[in-house]
């Protein structure tokens, strides 16, 4: 059974069919790419999967259970985490706090527990802080832990978004153009990081990316979409030579 499955997922914004009858599946542990020209509907697919929008029709199943129509926080609790194409950090909170937010849903403390602070509160708080610090170390952000997130340079902000998403302990991680605005050296680092995340955290990754080097370099399978519709699915070498894909990209550029 695939981890994530879209069946005829469709969404309409007024007169615009942003995603049309999209069907694909991501296997457990897979590094899966979703590409397409600007405006193809990739971010919208992420929004459908994470519950920001409910599909007009179709099914989205995670771990075999339908999740369409659920609230975003419920979907996060199911084990899907994401980053955003236009960075959405908690700007004035510290780097560490940004990651700590994602452990809130695992907290067993109620409001009273958090005000009166028993033994258990402190133990859990410490545990979650240490987990967050470990994530920051992996992303080499630990020295900036107390800085406000907004003060980070662009590349670090992108990495912090990934760290924060991993803080929810997801089984599926959605990355929306993580290499955007990075130089070749940074993109190369990012590729290695993505692979390492998959191996160390045992997550499946669904990657949207414009940088073909990154996509072709790390993804095991790639789904191509144009104008909200799927046009090709395959391993990188197939996609690279697929005439429909070449046309979609060349026709645009």
């Amino acid at each position: 059974m695939p981890l994530l499955e879209l069946k005829d997922a469709t969404i309409r914004f007024g007169g615009l069919l942003a995603v049309k009858d999209l069907t694909f599946a991501v296997e457990d542990g897979e590094l899966f790419g979703l590409i397409g020209p600007n405006g193809a509907g990739k971010t919208t697919v992420f929004n459908l999967i994470t519950g920001v929008y409910a599909p007009t029709s179709g099914v989205i199943a995670f771990d075999g259970k339908p999740i369409q129509g659920k609230h975003p926080h419920q979907i996060a609790a199911c084990g899907i985490a994401r980053t955003f194409q236009n960075i959405r950090l908690f700007a004035s909170m510290s780097v560490l706090e940004n990651v700590q937010v994602s452990s809130h849903m695992r907290s067993t403390q109620g409001v009273l527990g958090s005000v009166f602070r028993g033994e258990h509160f402190h133990r859990e708080e410490t545990l979650h802080r240490e987990e967050a610090m470990r994530l920051l170390e992996l992303f080499q952000l630990e020295k900036l832990a107390d800085e406000p997130a907004a003060s980070l340079p662009y590349g670090s902000q992108r990495r912090l978004e990934i760290a924060r998403a991993l803080g929810t302990k997801p089984r599926l991680l959605l990355l929306d153009e993580p290499a955007a605005g990075m130089n070749p050296q940074e993109s190369a680092d990012l590729m290695r990081l993505i692979r390492r995340i998959r191996d160390e955290f045992k997550v499946s990754i669904l990657l949207v990316e414009h940088n073909m080097k990154v996509v072709m370099g790390v993804c095991e399978r790639i789904q191509v979409m144009v104008h909200g519709e799927a046009i090709a699915l395959g391993v990188p070498s197939e996609i690279r030579t697929d005439p429909r894909v070449v046309e979609a990209y060349l026709g645009k550029e």
Binding site: T43, N47, V52, F84
Partner: protein, 299 residues
Amino acid sequence: MESFLQQLINGISLGSIYALVALGYTMVYGVLRLINFAHGDVYMLGAYFGYYLSRLVQGRTPSHLLDAAVVMILSMIGCALIGVIMERFAYRPVRRASRLTLLIIAIGVSLLIENASQLIFGANPRFFPQLIPETHIHMGNLMLTNQQVIVLVTALALMILLNLFIYRSRTGKAMRAVSYNLDAAKLMGIDTDRIISLTFALGSALAAAGGILVSINIPGIDPLMGVMTGLKAFVAAVLGGIGNIFGAVLGGLILGLAEVMVAGYGSSTYRDAIAFLILIAILLFKPSGLLGKGQVEKV
């Protein structure tokens, strides 16, 4: 049935005042996304300017109607100036600040005008002079005063003029562009500062007209008269869909009618609550107001 018709006319009359004031709220909100809490106080200033001007003007022109017209136009010009000054010194320095900052400054400006007015005009109510002697017009069992007719006709005329200005003139077009997207309008070469000043001037002039029209009907004026009316006019603007000109008029009329009906057929103590009840009911079902467009945040 007659009494219902009578109430209907009273309601529309009150509603058209709310609409005039609501227009200012909606226009300013449109260009600056600011709830200008001081707008109700400009309406009060309009009434006071009218009060002092009447003593100068009354009897100096050939007819009562002309007296009233001169008073009203001068008072509208005075308030337009106040509006421009208010924008220039209180709101322009913080145009890029958070919405909260803007809102608190608006509250501050409102308090300033109210307190300065209490000091200058005195806290006690004044009696607005009768610019136009009252005559009664009978239509069957229905009784109208000439003043009611004048209020209605003037309010209607002002709204039509505003509409023509906004939808037909070049400047009106620029104003709509600014309210659609301030930064884009600037890039297109529109002098946005001038347009924003103009918006305040227009809105304030309409509020002044509202203040005078109200005083023609109900002559007691005091420095705090703008507080409740301002609040209700704002509710009218939100009700209709803030930023939307027709919405403000629609909201004003609904509010005026509802209030008069509640006071007439229910308990008058609930009169002040009805505005908010309607508002909440509508916002819960249509959060952007009756004619407002919903805005979905793009992710």
